[in-house]
């Protein structure tokens, strides 16, 4: 018998970051006839992004496409997913996926079906030159993803809503912001951004979750099919390298330059990002963070 899963995305339909899920839905619906179908209800206009986690947890929807930063209220350790140094394929082998899934099961009644965003780093974008790993004198627009890192480098931070970022940059209220390598052009921010800072840090995590009760109610055949689809969508993470390169090219074409940190400054940049990130996870989830760090990182 066919099951229809109701799904919601926490990202705007048609945006670059949402594309893997749109393709996933298309493929499931094409190949899962008579077995599994997805009814894609919509994006942020249908469900507030920060409520997507709760709605998949309680069963209002069956499936969610959402980044862990949006459901830290349910899974504080989720903040650590962006700190992974392994691909999801590697995590499925080293026991990392199993632990992440267990956390999702226990803390938020969800099944961790798949992860997209591997290979997509975050960057700092700036209108002032950045020559070393020190942001004293910078005022940056942050979200909780970047706050700890930027503040550890002595920046002051403002948390404006996305709709005010453009004006804040245009008028010089902020000197820069953090964002993934993909998506700046989706938002039109390249018009008011002078440069990107390399290297990137962290890894974007946008996850496909299922309500746990729903997952358990599926037949073995249905679960096997969804796992196959998950494996497929995770294999498309390999395309990110090329998409990143295209985005970087488009940023350059729109007039953005790049400040590249080298040598010791580069090390300090990455080290500070990592340590500030983990310190935040450890504070929010002292019981699970150490194990998570063990599984997600190479440098112990």
């Amino acid at each position: 018998e066919e099951v229809v899963l109701r799904a919601v995305s926490s990202f705007q339909q048609g945006s670059l970051i949402e594309r893997p899920f749109a393709r996933f839905v298309e493929k499931v619906n094409a190949e899962g006839k008579g077995l599994v179908q997805i009814n894609y209800m919509g994006g942020p206009s249908a469900m507030p992004p920060f409520e997507v986690g709760n709605s998949v947890s309680s069963g209002v929807i069956d499936m969610a496409f959402v980044t862990a930063a949006f459901y830290t209220n349910l899974l504080p350790a989720g903040d650590g997913l962006k700190l992974t140094e392994y691909t999801i394929q590697e995590l499925r082998k080293n026991g990392g996926w199993e632990y992440i899934n267990e956390l999702h099961n226990k803390k938020m009644n969800a099944w961790y079906l798949a992860r997209t965003g591997d290979g997509v780093p975050f960057h700092m974008y700036t209108n002032k030159p950045v020559e070393k790993a020190d942001l004293s004198g910078f005022t940056l627009r942050v979200t909780p993803v970047y706050r700890a890192f930027f503040e550890a480098l002595n920046a002051s931070s403002i948390q404006t809503p996305p709709s005010e970022v453009y004006t804040a940059l245009e008028r010089g209220v902020v000197d820069g912001y953090g964002w993934p390598i993909q998506g700046v052009l989706d938002l039109g921010w390249q018009e008011v951004t002078k440069a990107r800072v390399d290297p990137g840090f962290y890894t974007v995590d946008v996850n496909i979750l299922l309500n746990l009760d729903k997952w358990k109610s599926l037949s073995d055949e249905q679960r096997a099919f969804l796992n196959k689809m998950a494996e497929w969508v995770e294999s498309t993470n390999a395309e990110n390298e090329q998409i990143n390169a295209e985005e970087a090219k488009k940023q350059a074409a729109s007039g953005m330059t790049v400040y590249t940190l080298e040598g010791a400054e580069r090390e300090k940049w990455l080290e500070t990002a990592r340590e500030a990130g983990w310190a935040q996870v450890l504070k929010a989830a002292p019981d699970t963070a150490p194990r998570l760090r063990e599984l997600l990182t190479r440098s112990k």
């Binding site: 349910l74 004198g137 706050r147 948390q159």
Partner: protein, 177 residues
Amino acid sequence: MNHPGTGAAVSSNPVARAYNSLITGLAVVAGAIFGLMAFFIGADVLVRNTVGGGLAWVIETMEYAMYVATIFAAPWVLREGAHVSVDVVTSNLPEGLRRVVSCFVCLLGSAICFVICYYSALATLKAFERGSQIYKTFTIPEWTISIFVPFGMLLVAIEFLLLFRGELRSPAHVSAR
């Protein structure tokens, strides 16, 4: 047209008096919050442009402040008859029918607010049991934020019932505005 009154304002019953001061007191708090918002936002700008750094907590605090103030003032605004409604139909009804509709609307409004109150109370209870925290600038237990909805909705529901009582007693009507 007079403001529709609830009739509770002149009561000598101590419970009613305490309740009335609660409604008015909450409204006063709401007014103070709306007033203070400007000053905190201004202070934030000032600090950021002089000392540098700015008051990181201002934006998130303003969001909660606006929410709390809206909830706090809502019952009083209903009492003052200042929640807008569409009177295109009701103002053209004959007096008898209009009062029937008006009574019905008071009861319906009360029922709606009780339902919202009940389910938002459940949401709050769930957040409390789960120990959910909101991690933004501050780390706050989720239930301390969500509890304002059931609280405010309960009071709005009661205000609707008082309006209903007033409607039975005198021809002041909720849909007059």
